[in-house]
């Protein structure tokens, strides 16, 4: 395996959790809800996914458990922000604090344990294609799943009536409500979907990426996923580009550290975070406030009047 191929493979592996979590959050934000708890839902997905896979030996059951854990936390978020119209920013922060704590509690017994990593798909013949064979036809199911997920979300948002309704609710919940759309129910489903995706992204970390569990192993990926949604201007396809760009930054800094260029390793490690800040500034600046692609009602509670 060539150096370039190895780097590409590790970039894909580093990008997939970001893409999964960000894709879910994109749908949530398109419905007008800002869930800042992605980090908490991801780490819960990592802990519960690992626990389930450890006991059953099945990556699939682990992934399902992680997905459910993310959705369960998202349900708590929905109860507060949709049911009680609580401030979404504060609730999202609470969700992250709770998720980090709960994951530590659940995962405490599993630190130091290992499981078999998620199996890779090896398509015979195609895998032997020079250059791209291993990259295109030798990934694990999460990677293919993440790409299919984004394609599905794109189709749903822009090619179906339900997707149109969801976007309308995100832009103007009062009008959508007046037209008879069930604003809170759609937002609930979107929030649950986003939680499930974040949980799956977290499960990928502990089931395939490492494969073991360490407390705090998400290391800010949930927050980077949130920034990616802004970076992508709330558009699914741009999300893929953004996620892979960030995956590349985080992998290249690792390789640069290995080369021993005399640059402090801490500076290299801070690159993904600095890149996030830079990207947020550039994207927000070029877009300005007038032409913002953000859903118009993003982050504001909606209490239907009967």
């Amino acid at each position: 395996m060539g150096m370039l191929e190895a780097i590409t493979l590790s970039v894909i592996a580093a990008s997939t959790p970001l893409l999964l979590a960000a894709a879910g959050e994109l749908v949530v934000e398109r419905s007008g809800v800002l869930n800042l708890g992605v980090e908490g839902m991801m780490i819960m997905g990592a802990a519960c996914g690992f626990a389930a896979a450890f006991f059953t030996g099945s990556t699939l059951i682990g992934a399902l458990a992680g997905t459910c854990a993310g959705a369960a936390l998202a349900l708590v978020f929905a109860l507060l922000t949709l049911g009680l119209a609580v401030n979404q920013v504060a609730t999202g922060l609470a969700l992250t604090i709770l998720g980090v704590g709960l994951s530590g509690l659940i995962g405490a017994g599993f630190v130091g344990q290992r499981i078999a990593p998620a199996p890779h798909l090896f398509l015979p013949v195609l895998i032997d294609l020079p250059g791209v064979g291993r990259i295109l036809f030798g990934q694990d199911a999460f990677v293919y799943g993440s790409v299919l997920l984004v394609a599905g979300i794109r189709r749903f948002l822009f090619r179906t009536r339900a997707g149109l309704a969801l976007r309308a609710i995100g832009d103007n919940p009062a009008s959508a409500h007046a037209l008879g759309y069930p604003v809170l129910r759609v937002r609930l489903l979107a929030v649950l979907f986003g939680g499930a995706c974040a949980g799956l992204g977290g499960a990928y970390l502990s089931l395939a990426y490492t494969p073991f569990f360490v407390p705090g192993m998400t290391a800010g990926r949930g927050w980077i996923a949130l920034a990616l949604v802004v970076f992508a201007s709330w558009r699914p396809l741009r999300l893929v580009g953004g996620a892979y760009l960030f995956g590349a930054v985080s992998i290249l800094q690792l390789h640069a550290q290995g080369l021993g260029l005399g640059i402090p390793s801490q500076l290299m490690s801070s690159l993904p975070y600095l890149a996030t800040v830079l990207v947020l500034v550039l994207i927000s600046r070029t877009r300005g406030t007038a032409g913002s692609a953000a859903p118009a009602s993003l982050g504001t509670a909606f209490v239907p009047d009967r």
């Binding site: 708590v76 009680l84 119209a85 609470a94 998720g99 980090v100 530590g104 801490q266």
Partner: protein, 363 residues
Amino acid sequence: MHLVLERRAERSVQVALASPLIAIALTLATMAALFWLLGKNPLVALGVYFVDPLTDAYTLQEIAVKATPLVMIAVGLSVCYIANVWNIGAEGQFIIGAVAGSWLAVRTQGADAGAWVLPAMLALGALGGALYAMIPAICRVRFGASEILVSLMLVYVADLLMDFLVRGPWRDPHGLNFPTTAEFDPVATVPVLVEGSRLHAGAILALMVVLSGAVLLGRTLKGFEIRLVGAAPKAAAFAGFDGRRLTLFCFALSGALAGLAGIIEVAGPIGHLQPGISPGYGFTAIIVAFLGRLNPLGVLIAGLFLALTVIGGEGAQIALKVPLDLTKVFQGILLFYVLACDSLIVHRIRLVATPRKPAHGHA
């Protein structure tokens, strides 16, 4: 029949006063259930958590020591959140404040520089925190970038910067290669209030911060501006208040307080700069701010309560062999209940009959 949420005609004063207490009661009930799930006697466990620390002079002092940074940071965050400015990177500003102040301590190490060192360190700490907080503030007002995400990203950067300094240029040459600076000189150390205790002068500063915050918010035009911009930004702009300048002000103030808390923590109870100087004070302070209803006096009580849970959690780790993360779970649950109860100040839940859909005819 189903439940609906509706806005109250005016804020309910009774609920406003009772809501933190209801939230704490609900949290205790949830914690009891959690202890029971973990196979511990809930009453004994809650006792270890919330009563035992109050019965011992040493732990009482420790509560005040832990509450000091929490209260200082949370007063600044309260000002931000009232103004609808979301600084969630206080943890990073805390670390940068500690680093900025420690720079002077490291530079004057062993030079017997005089009594000016500590005040200068505190000023540097506050300045460092404020400048670090200006990054997300400027990104917000100049470029429109989310201050939430930028301030949070800078937490990781601050952590790595401190890690670099204590492992590299500032490492104690006689420290057996441990990643830490040398122990600060006595002139660079926050004095203790009573000989032989750990309670230090920072606690007095925290009380002064609380009082100043209460005066700022309750008795000055700036306080009015902060509340107005938060509650009705358009009306505030119409009245001639500049929301962008207020954002800068809120970040500078909260960053300075977080930085001050950082250098006090390092020059006080810890005594040197090392990784892990903060067990998440900057994040716990967010809970303190909300539990204290974004009111400085409330923050003082909330800070003491949260400090009690931190000390209780350490006690429970030893006495009950429960993981330390239980305290974080507890804090997260508490914040949820606080937010939920706060919603009932402006809303109420009513049980209404489901309107029957007409069998025929149009809607």
